[in-house]
Symmetry: C2
Subunit: 433 residues, 2 copies
């Protein structure tokens, strides 16, 4: 049986352990929900305060130049690019994941209409994050395409034979299962389809190699593993072979070649800047900019290693530890591991399914300071445990340790053994859970 002492010893020799001090985490909390909202970087409060008081208050309109607000989407984008295997100048931070997906899926459909006009199908995973499917539904309806939703294991070359675009989320938000980006992209291309990736649960969590894996388009989230703060701007990447072929329909002035010429005719900026639309929320963007610097600190801890490779090694060690403790201690709780045991197809979370009671169990955990989250009705995702709900635990390598994982499992076991989760108070649902 794995002991707390063993986990503490692992923490003591973890070269990334000092990174925890970069984050402000409340006392008494084990935070396993960084896959939903990343923790607060300690430097963010001062940086945002500076943006409010000095840049906005004193600099006023002049700060568009003097504080560098003007190219903040590009500068933040360049910091993200390094984490997702993209070149400088190919990513911008802007808008929301949903809106960026609309831009790239529009672009992909326009390219497909030119290159493979007979293909009228977009393929995605049925358990893709719903907002991706909603955006795709709207665009497919508008453009006369069929949106075909399938299970992950049904995706093969035959299915893609008449697809214009395949759109997938790299790491599944419920199960934590991860696609082989290189392999799936190659299959899509071999079949003649363009490949759009959503990196919401990948960026900052697992290594991503957009260019090496030859993806076409990608979007991702700023407020999960990138720790950019609530509702932080999202990001968008387009392979340079596509960028200048098309201007996306959200053709606002910030994507114009000369936004301050104020000409009535739209003329898109060259490169990824044409994926900008309107004025960006600078205070929220500043927090994201600041948060991304935490990734630079990884290099101080392990100078010889690639940042994302180092984080991946620790992430896998953390999820392995969670699974080991689950195997050792959770038999008889009617909990089922739905996250893959195979490293190559596992993201940075562990999800447990239970037919009943999952919501209340998570509420009981939260009451003890172990914050994960709950996702309802997992049947379509997991292919097992028909109708089971999910307890989701995000394991963020930047600020979590092995003893945190041990304590989380200890609380889970105590809750299951005592039956305290059956208390009525743990069954009152909130608006957001």
């Amino acid at each position: 049986m794995t002991s707390l002492e063993h986990c503490q010893a692992l923490d003591a020799k973890d070269p990334l352990r000092p990174l925890r001090e970069l984050f402000s985490l409340p006392a008494g909390v084990i935070y396993l929900d960084g896959n939903s909202l990343g923790a607060l970087p300690r430097t963010a409060a001062a940086r945002v305060a500076h943006a409010v008081t000095q840049e906005w208050g004193d600099g006023l309109i002049r700060s568009w130049n003097s504080a560098g607000w003007f190219d903040l989407p590009q500068r933040v984008g360049d910091k993200i690019a390094r984490l997702v295997g993209a070149s400088a100048g190919t990513v911008v931070a802007t808008d929301t994941t949903s809106i960026n997906l609309y831009k790239v899926l529009s672009a992909a459909l326009t390219i497909a209409a030119q290159d493979v006009p007979q293909r009228k199908r977009v393929v995605s995973e049925r358990s893709n994050f719903p907002t991706d499917l909603y955006i795709a539904q709207a665009l497919c309806q508008e453009r006369g395409y069929e949106l075909l939703l399938v299970e992950a294991e049904q995706i093969d070359a035959a299915l893609l034979a008449d697809a214009a675009v395949m759109m997938l989320t790299h790491v599944n938000y419920r199960t934590g299962a991860m696609f082989d980006m290189a392999g799936v992209t190659a299959m899509a291309h071999a079949s003649g389809a363009l490949m759009v990736w959503d990196l919401a649960h990948s960026a900052g969590a697992v290594p991503v190699a957009l260019e090496a894996d030859n993806a076409d388009f990608a979007v991702g989230c700023g407020y999960k593993y990138l720790n950019g703060g609530p509702g932080a701007p999202a990001f968008v990447w387009v392979h340079p072979r596509h960028t200048d072929r098309f201007w996306q329909p959200l053709a606002g002035w910030w994507g114009h070649a000369a936004p301050f010429a104020f000409t009535p005719e739209y003329r898109p900026a060259s490169g990824i800047s044409r994926y900008l639309c309107g004025t960006q929320p600078i205070l929220s963007m500043t927090a994201l900019d600041c948060a991304l610097d935490c990734f630079l600190a990884v290099q101080d801890c392990v100078p010889a290693q690639d940042v994302m490779a180092a984080l991946r090694a620790k992430s896998l060690a953390l999820t392995d530890m969670f699974i080991t403790l689950f195997d050792e201690r959770c038999a008889g709780y009617e909990l089922e591991l739905v996250t893959p045991r195979t490293h190559a197809v596992r993201g940075s979370q562990v999800s447990l399914a239970r037919t009943t009671g999952a919501y209340a169990i998570m509420q009981a955990l939260i009451a003890r300071g172990v914050i994960g989250d709950f996702r309802a009705g997992a049947a379509a995702d997991t292919g097992k445990s028909e109708g089971a709900d999910i307890l989701r635990f995000g394991l963020t390598p930047l600020y979590l340790g092995f003893a945190d994982v041990w304590q989380a499992l200890e609380h889970l076991c105590q809750i299951m053994d005592s039956g305290e989760w059956r208390d009525d108070k743990f069954n009152q649902k909130h608006a957001v859970t």
Copy 2:
């Protein structure tokens, strides 16, 4: 000749004068660019710091419920609704003006395609803010519509005879000329066209009566006269007769009837919430929320008056004072007033055109702490002074006084009399001006 003492006396008896203390303005600055970026409300620093440290840092994911992040777009929207003549529950604060325009113009075109399918034209003003025209261009191209751009004075019933939608900005960003919203909307409706208004330079600056004037759709900006901070979220209003007829194409999970049910099929929320798309930038939204409370303070100063009527009275007095001083003192400077003298068609700014040197003159003003801004090539807007550039002065009634206006004109006269604006240093252009 109007004296500084006279202006100071007007300030002394101005019932709205105490509102100035709600804002943090740098010493030595006369800020006449609130139409581009509103000044910092004093309470915003503490409110945003609280959102960062307590809500994000300590509350973490729980703050979606406990700090009310979840319905912040609706709560902020309700505060804006009171300023634009809309009912509670009909406005949401979200995304950018450009993106919100895409949503409402999409909706308008979809409704028009059902109701008046033979009409294939969208009409707008050639000197509308360019991002509005870019968005309309993209949508018209996508949907097979023609975008017809005309001068403001050409808009009449005959022109609208085969228009599906007319889209106008209420107050022109360059000239400060304001349309008669009730009259123009009635003309559009009588002609069978839907009416979309952009309130970027109206909301918080002039009274707007969206419902009473029977508009169909409106969008507006959070960071100009609403003082929400750099890139603050924008807002969108849809007349209740249209809201539930159509779901806009940016159909993301925050506009879903049950976002946390995570169903693969999109089912739009009822009411204006379906105009939400993705997760909103909470830090930026918090600053906007805070800034809107400054408008409540107007009522403390003039309890018997409507908030926007009181602000309008002061705004007109300020722009009148600017124009009076311009008439008294600026002859011979080759500056031309392009803002209408008639109150009914004037927004809350004063714009001066000059064939040459406008950029350098504005830089010289800024160097003296008088911050307005410059807009190039005004020919298409003004119908006069072919090719003239514009010096733009926003007069925000919440935090400006009559002595500020006097001082601004005094500096302008000194700059023109001395010729100091001809110095080379004032001709070096910035990225954003």
